[in-house]
Structures are given as C-alpha cells and as structure tokens.
C-alpha cells in the first residue's frame, strides 16, 4: 500500500514525534508506516483522517497488484 503520510505531515508542519503524540502511538509506528513497513489498522487510519481533515483514500492508496480482481461473471 502506498501512502502520502510524510507529505501530509509536512503540510501540517509536524515532526514524527508530534504526530505520534497526537494520535497516541510511538514515533517508531509513524516511521514504519512512512517507510511502508507497516500497514496501520482502520482505527489508526481514521485517526489520521480526522487529524489531516481528509478522507483516508487521499493519503492511503492500493498498489496495482493489490487492486481487487474485476468481476469475470
């Protein structure tokens, strides 16, 4: 899954530590999400959505290989 977390964080002028504190996780978690090492839970994605005031789809996007298969019926 691709994400624009780093860009959204830069728009709000927040450090990884500040963002982590705002949504109640560790700086390590923010760093792992930004590096695409960890896919956050729905709860965390929604918390980020509230903070950025944007829908989740604006900063999380599926890779081409993760797209659902078209209905063949």
């Amino acid at each position: 899954m691709k994400n624009r977390l780093k860009i959204e964080r830069a728009i709000l002028d927040l450090t990884q530590d500040e963002l982590a504190n705002k949504i109640g996780v560790s700086r390590q978690t923010i760093s792992s999400i930004e590096k695409n090492r960890y896919v956050p839970s729905t709860v965390l994605a929604l918390k980020l959505s509230l903070l950025f005031e944007k829908p989740v789809n604006d900063f999380f996007e599926l890779e081409d290989s993760e797209m659902p298969m078209p209905n063949t019926v």
Binding site: V25, S26, Q28, T29, T42, V43
Partner: protein, 149 residues
C-alpha cells in the same frame, strides 16, 4: 455496522491482547532475575555443584524470560502488538524445528566422532524446550523492534 461500532470492535480486539500482559516495570524485574539466576548457575557449576541450586537457577532463568516476554513496552501500540504476535509465531515454529533437528543432529555428529552406538541418543528436556521458545521469542521481538526503528 456504523463507524463508531467498527472502531469500538477493533479497539476491543487490541485490548484483549493487552489483558495478558504485565506492566513495563516487570521487564526490568525479569532481566534482574535472569542475571541473578545466570550468575547462580555459573557459580554453582564451577564451585558449589549443588543439584537443588542448579535446578532453582535454571527455573529462575525461565521465570525471568517469561516476565520479559509478557511485559508491556513503554508505548504499547498496534505496531508493537503486531511485532509481538510475529515473534510468538516465529518462536513457536523455530522452537519446534530446533527441538526436532538440533539435538538429534548434534548427537549424530557426536556419535560419528566418538564412534558410539545410537543408544546414547539424548532427548531434549522440558527446560531446554521452554528455554529455546522463550529466548527465541524475546530476541526475535527485540530484533523486529530494531528493524522497525
């Protein structure tokens, strides 16, 4: 299912994991018990040689490892929960493989070297199995945490 109940559902599943964990300070207590038990074990091995003391030290190491294993991190968030689950899975698989392969393999090599018969084959004891499982979990969890920094 509306948004609030969905969030509540996910939060509860994360809470369930935390129910079986001890506060962070137990990690230091666990490390202390491991160090004391290790020192006791080594002193006993090279000087006193008391069987009861040896057994106490061995089980002390296990208790210490268990405390370290089930203690919370300072910030116990969803990434840590996920890494912890990965480490338990890895420890289970690695523990079974090590138990199945290592001891017979070492015995086989020892038998070839010493030209002894297969009847000298040794089984892995309960302490060794638990020690392998807990140490693999604790070290792999620390490794995963460092990898995700």
């Amino acid at each position: 299912m509306n948004l609030k109940s969905f969030i509540e559902c996910e939060r509860k599943s994360l809470e369930k994991m935390k129910r079986y964990q001890l506060p962070n300070r137990f990690k230091k207590i666990g490390i202390g018990i491991i160090i004391i038990s290790l020192v006791t074990f080594l002193v006993n091995k090279f000087s006193i040689e008391n069987i009861d003391l040896k057994l106490t030290a061995k089980y002390g190491i296990l208790v210490g490892l268990l405390l370290v294993s089930i203690s919370k991190e300072k910030i116990e968030d969803e990434l840590i929960t996920s890494l912890r689950m990965q480490s338990y899975t890895f420890a289970f698989i690695a523990g079974v493989i090590i138990t199945l392969l290592t001891n017979p393999l070492f015995n086989y090599i020892a038998n070839i070297i010493s030209q002894k018969q297969q009847e000298n084959f040794q089984e892995v004891g309960d302490w060794e199995i638990l020690w392998i499982l807990l140490s693999v979990q604790v070290f792999y969890f620390e490794f995963l945490k460092r990898m995700n920094k």
